[in-house]
Symmetry: C2
Subunit: 137 residues, 2 copies
DNA sequence: GCTTGACCCTGTAGTTGCTACAGGGTGCAT
DNA sequence: ATGCACCCTGTAGCAACTACAGGGTCAAGC
C-alpha cells in the first residue's frame, strides 16, 4: 500500500501520516525501489487506532501511552483505564465550561434589539468585567 | 500604571499584554523616561474587554471586529449580533460533539474490568474502527 | 556606594497538531 | 515524449499564547 492508499483507507491526510511517522507514532515503513513508502495491514490498523484516539480527543502523548500499552499485552491495563478516565473527566469539565459559556452568550445576545453600537448590549456586556460569574479576584 | 499592575488588574499574563500590543489589539501606550510602558484607565478597560471576549471563546479576529465596533458607536450593532450568534452556534455544536464523545468514552471505560492489556476493552475499542457512530464513509 | 531583588525591555523560539507549500523525482498512459 | 497523478524532503505557517536569553532600571538596605 502506498501512502495515498493508506490515506484514503483511513481518512487521514497524507501530510498527517508523514507527521505521525516523524514524531514516532507510526513506525517507518519499508520503501520501494523508488523510495516510496510501502505500508502493510499492521500500519493501517495502527493508524486507525491513532485516528480514533485522536477523534476521541486524546492528546498525542496519551495516544503514545495507549499505543505503548497495546504493544505490550502482558502489562496491566490499569494505565489505559487511568488515561481514559482522566480524559473523560476533562471532557466533562469542558462540557460544563461550554454550557456556562453558552448560557452567558445566550443572555448577552438575548438583550440585543438592534440599533446603534453605542447602545449595543453585546458590546456593553463584553466591556463589563463584573460578570455574573462573580470573579472578583 | 506599569505593565505589571495592568497584568494584576486584569488577570492577564504580561507576555500576553505585549503580544496583544504587537498584533494591534491594544494601542501602544506612552513610555516613561526609562522606556517602561505606561497605561491609563482606557487601556485597562480595553484589555478587560479583550480578555472577557477571549474567555467567551471569541477568536482574536472576532475580538478585533467587536473592538472595532465598540470604537465606532455610530455604526449599527448588527455585526456584533451576527458574530455572537454565529459563535453561539459553534459553542452549541462543540457541546454536542463533546457529549457524543463523553458517551463513547463512558461506554469504553465501563467495559474495562482491569486485568491484562491483552484483554483491555479500552485498547480494543480504540483499535476497532467500526465504531458505534456508523461512520462507513 | 554598592549590592540585591523586583521589575521592565526586546527579540526570538517553543508549544500542539497538524497543514501547506516549494522544488524536485517516479510511473504509467497516450 | 509529454502529460498527469502521484511520491519525496524540508521548511514554514496557523492560533494564541508562553518562555526564555540577555540585557536595562529603580528603590531599599548595608
Amino acid at each position: 500500500m502506498k501512502i495515498g492508499e493508506l490515506s484514503r483507507a483511513t481518512g487521514t491526510n497524507i501530510e498527517t501520516i508523514r507527521y505521525y511517522e516523524r514524531i514516532g507514532l507510526l513506525p517507518e515503513p519499508a520503501r520501494t525501489a523508488a523510495n516510496y513508502r510501502s505500508y502493510g495491514e499492521a500500519h493501517r490498523t495502527r493508524l486507525a487506532f491513532v485516528r480514533h484516539s485522536r477523534e476521541l480527543g486524546f492528546t498525542i502523548e496519551e495516544v503514545r501511552s495507549l499505543l505503548d500499552l497495546a504493544d505490550h499485552p502482558e502489562r496491566e491495563c490499569s494505565e489505559a483505564d487511568r488515561i481514559a478516565t482522566r480524559h473523560l473527566a476533562q471532557v466533562e469539565e469542558k462540557i460544563g465550561q461550554l454550557v456556562t459559556l453558552r448560557d452567558e452568550l445566550s443572555r448577552i445576545i438575548g438583550r440585543c434589539r438592534g440599533g446603534l453600537a453605542a447602545d449595543c448590549r453585546v458590546i456593553e456586556a463584553l466591556g463589563d468585567h463584573t460578570m455574573c460569574n462573580g470573579d472578583h479576584e
